[in-house]
Symmetry: C2
Subunit: 210 residues, 2 copies
DNA sequence: TAGATTGTTAATCGATTAACAATC
DNA sequence: TAGATTGTTAATCGATTAACAATC
C-alpha cells in the first residue's frame, strides 16, 4: 500500500510524527493543522504536508488533520498493526535492557525467547521469558514463526551466528552490534543501532559549541 | 579547528569512518585508498574524499591515506581526545546497560556517578559506581566538573529534572527519553537516541519487503 | 459565502556524484 | 618518468521550501 521509493529521510520522520500525534491524542486534542504540528516539532508545514502526501491525502482542506485518524494512518504505514514474533540473542546488559523494555509490544513486536551463550544465565528468566542456549535457536525459530532477531551480542558473535539465523529463515534484524549484516545478505531488512556512533556525534557537537 | 557549517550528514558519517579505520588499523593495515574504503563501507570514493576535505587534506596523492594517521585525525575531529565527566540519571534496565557498557571510556567519556529516584537501588553499586539519590545531583555536579548527563529515565522524569541539571551547568545531554530538551534550552548540545523510532523504522521496512 | 488549510506544482537550495588537474 | 590517487571544481540529482489553486 505505501508507495515505492519514499526517501529514507521521510521514513525516518514518520515515527516522530507518530509519537507527537500519540501524545496529542492522549491529551484529547482532536484536530491539528500542519502549521501547528510543525511548530511543535520544530519542522515546517510544507515538509509535513509533503511527507504525508507520499502516502495519501489524510487531511481535510480548511480543517486540518484528525489527530486520531492521522495517528492511526501513520501507524498502519509503519506496519505497527502487523504482529511480529521476535527473539533476542545475547542476554548481557544491553540485551536485558531491551528485553525488559515493555513498550515494544505496543509496536507489534512480541519477544518470545532469549538465547545466550553464557551457561550461567541459561535457565534463568527475564520478564517470564526463559533464557535458552544458542544451540536451540534453529528448532525454536522453526516451531514458533519468528521473523525478527534482536542482536545484542558483540560483532564477532554475530559474525559466527548470522548464517544460522539466515538459514532458519530470519530476514529481519534489529542489530546493536557493529557487524554489517546487509553486506553479507542482500535480501534482509536491517536496522542498525550504533550507540557508540551516537556518543561520538555528541562528542563532536560538544567540541563545536566551545 | 574543524570548519563551521559542516552538514549533519557528513558529521554522522565520521563515526563510521572512525570505526572502519580502527578495524583496519587493528588488522595491521597501513594504507587505504578512498576507492577501497568506499567498497568496504558501501559508500563512494567521491563521498569519502569530499567528507574528509571538509576538515583538511589528510591523504597523499598517488598513495592514499595512512590508516593510523587518518584514524587519529578523525578521532581529533570528533573530539575523542577530549576527556569528559558524565553522570547517568535513571538506573533502570537501560541505565544499567549503558552504565556497564565499558567502551564509552575509549571515546573520552568517564561515567563518575549514577543517580536514581527509586530508594531501593540507592547505596548499591554498578561497576564500582555508587548509586546516589537524585537530591545529591547539584552538589555532586558542582564538585566534580561534570559536563555531560546521560538521561535514561522516562519523559516525565526528565521534564521535572531538566531545569535542575541546566541550572547546575550541564550543557550536554545524551538523551534516551522522548523529552525534547532542545526546544526548552537553546544553548545545549543534545544527542537523542530514540530506540522505539528505530524499531518503527524496522517495522516499516519489513512491510515494504513483503 | 468567506476563511482556513490542504494537496500539489514550481522554485530553490543543498548534497551527492562525476570529472579532472595537481602531485606524490 | 609513469601510474596512482588525491583535492577540488563542475554537473547532476534529490530534498526542502515556497507558492497557490483546490476545496472543505
Amino acid at each position: 500500500m505505501p508507495k515505492e521509493g519514499v526517501s529514507i529521510q521521510v521514513i525516518r520522520r514518520l515515527p516522530r510524527y507518530y509519537r507527537y500525534l500519540s501524545e496529542l491524542d492522549s491529551e484529547g486534542i482532536e484536530k491539528i493543522s500542519s502549521t501547528k504540528l510543525a511548530s511543535m516539532m520544530n519542522s515546517t508545514a510544507s515538509q509535513i504536508r509533503q511527507d504525508l502526501n507520499c502516502f495519501g491525502g489524510f487531511g481535510q482542506q480548511g480543517y486540518g488533520y484528525s489527530v486520531a485518524g492521522l495517528r492511526s494512518e501513520i501507524g498502519k504505514i509503519l506496519g505497527l498493526d502487523q504482529p511480529h514474533n521476535m527473539i533476542l540473542i545475547g542476554a548481557g546488559n544491553l540485551g536485558k535492557a531491551i528485553a525488559t523494555h515493555l513498550s515494544f509490544e505496543k509496536l507489534g513486536f512480541k519477544l518470545t525467547a532469549i538465547f545466550e551463550k553464557d551457561e550461567k544465565l541459561i535457565g534463568t528468566t527475564l520478564r517470564d521469558i526463559e533464557i535458552m542456549p544458542d544451540d536451540r535457536i534453529e528448532d525454536y525459530v522453526k516451531e514458533n514463526q519468528i521473523d525478527t532477531a534482536v542482536l545484542t551480542m558483540p560483532k564477532e558473535a554475530v559474525k559466527k551466528m548470522i548464517d544460522k539465523l539466515y538459514d532458519c529463515g530470519i530476514r529481519s534484524y534489529w542489530n546493536f552490534s557493529h557487524y554489517d549484516i546487509s553486506k553479507k545478505y542482500l535480501d534482509v531488512t536491517v536496522e542498525n543501532v550504533h550507540l557508540s556512533d551516537s556518543l561520538m556525534t555528541l562528542s563532536y557537537m560538544m567540541n563545536q559549541s566551545d
